[in-house]
Structure formats: structure tokens, C-alpha cells
């Protein structure tokens, strides 16, 4: 059974804030369809509630909060957003002389919601493995993975070290959520959002990075 709650407005009853911009609500049937697609790629939403609002904050598509088995979907206008992503990534493919077929597949609202569901699901699964990594960081299982993140991040390890512990752990957690998502859904038209250019330029490094994550998470 899938637990889906539609929130009308910018806040949930407990005060959780989706954003200040009124966007586009997602029909329950669409969320069910995308959950089924995400499940077919390895997600298991047992015990997880999906809360979907018609409000968003312009910067993200969804989020989770530590300690809650809830995935919050924000009300981004995905028809416009998918068209933007598809055009923009096509431009990047052209600059890199890469076949642009994948750009057409990115213009797809279902795939976009699947990306967000899997991204947030992977955060929840990582928290199951690591506990609150924002506070505690990552243990030695993640050494090789973080070594690759440090090599591929703009500004390298120096830039990572300029962040305070919590923000650094949070950023590494975002790389993990995206790479974990791509391990579950390798044919996704959406690249790791933290390293799109790097991964397109150096696909073998991206593959190695994901292999190390697979080992770290015991997948």
C-alpha cells in the first residue's frame, strides 16, 4: 500500500515548509505511477509517506528531514522545468560532441518525479546505513568514494575543507544520494547534479566512484 498525502498550501500541518511560490500540484494518480516506476528500479517505499504540495522554493524539487520516513515533493512546474532541462543539457552535449538522444528523454515529467523520489529514497537509505552523517560524518567504508568526490569536485579537496563539518558532510551526502540513485537507475536521463560536466568528461571516473559507493553501502 502506498502512503500519499496531498498538501494544499505552503506548509504541512506540523509546519514543514515547502516554499513560498505557488506552483503546480501533482495528482495522486501521477504520484502512484511514478512510485511504481521507482519501485521497478529498486526502491521500496514500505513505511515511507509521500507528501506532495503545490508550493516550492524555486531551488529544489523535493526534500527529506532527518528522523522522518517522509519524502516531501514540491510543486515545481515540471512541464516547464523538463523542457528547460532538456534544452540546457542538449546545449552541453553539443559543446562536448556527445549524442543528444538522452536530452529528449529528459523532457519527461514522470522521469523527473522518479528522479526526485529515488534521490530522497537514497538519502533515507544512506541514513539507515550511516545514522545522522551530518553530525557524525562518514566512516572508513567511504574513504575511496570521498577520495573520488574530492578529485572531481570543483576546487578539489581544498574547497571541501573550506566548508564547516556539517555543510561538508551535507554536500558529500548529496553526491551519495545522486550516485546511489544512478546505481538503482543507470539509464536515467538525469546525471549526478553535482558533477554533470565532470562525469561527461570522465565517465570512467564516475563509474569508479559509483563502484566504490556500491561497496561502501553494501549494495
Amino acid at each position: 500500500m502506498r502512503n500519499i498525502e496531498i498538501i494544499n498550501g505552503s506548509r504541512d500541518t506540523d509546519g514543514t515548509y515547502f516554499g513560498h511560490i505557488k506552483g503546480v500540484p501533482k495528482p495522486k494518480e501521477l504520484i502512484e505511477k511514478t512510485m511504481a516506476a521507482a519501485e521497478s528500479r529498486g526502491a521500496d517505499f514500505t513505511g515511507i509517506t509521500i507528501k506532495s504540495s503545490d508550493y516550492h522554493d524555486e531551488s529544489s524539487y523535493g526534500f527529506i528531514l532527518i528522523g522522518r520516513p517522509v519524502i516531501y515533493l514540491q510543486g515545481v512546474d515540471l512541464i516547464a522545468d523538463c523542457a528547460w532541462y532538456s534544452n540546457a543539457i542538449r546545449g552541453l552535449y553539443e559543446k562536448l560532441n556527445i549524442d543528444g538522444t538522452l536530452a529528449d528523454r529528459a523532457n519527461n515529467v514522470v522521469e523527473s518525479i522518479v528522479r526526485t523520489l529515488l534521490h530522497e529514497y537514497c538519502h533515507l537509505k544512506t541514513l539507515d546505513v550511516m545514522g545522522d552523517y551530518l553530525a557524525g560524518g562518514f566512516d572508513s567504508r567511504f574513504t575511496e568514494y570521498i577520495d573520488h568526490v574530492a578529485k572531481m569536485r570543483k576546487g578539489g579537496p581544498e574547497a571541501l575543507l573550506q566548508l564547516d563539518d556539517r555543510n561538508r558532510n551535507g554536500e558529500i551526502g548529496e553526491w551519495i544520494a545522486e550516485d546511489y540513485r544512478l546505481l538503482l537507475d543507470p539509464n536515467s536521463p538525469y546525471h549526478n547534479s553535482n558533477s554533470i560536466t565532470q562525469d561527461l568528461l570522465y565517465p570512467y571516473l564516475a563509474a569508479d566512484r559509483r563502484d566504490y559507493l556500491k561497496g561502501a553501502l553494501g549494495l
Binding site: S60, K95, A135, G137, P157
Partner: protein
Amino acid sequence: MRDKRPNLDISSDEIESVRKEVAYRVKKGVSKSELEKIMAPAKKAKVVRTATKKVSQAHS
């Protein structure tokens, strides 16, 4: 912990800069001390756990 909108406004100059930077980082490698600093919070947690274990072993 958010699925963020990526930046896709990337110029050819920026692509070249990323190409050079990653190649440099791979060649140079990340030093052990830098990696230890990046992983530092976890190491602190490990020390605490180890210390607790030693205490409990001492009492057994």
C-alpha cells in the same frame, strides 16, 4: 537533503577548466592528511566508540 535544480549554464571555457582541473587532481591525488581532515568527524566518533569499548572490557 534536497533534490536541487542543477546549474546547466556551462560555457566552453568552464568545460575546459573542469577538464584540466580534474586531470590535475587525478595526477596529483588527494593527500592522506586532506582525506583525514575531510573524514574527521567520523574519526572522532570512532575514537569515542573505541574508548567506550575499552572501558567496558576493563570492567568485565
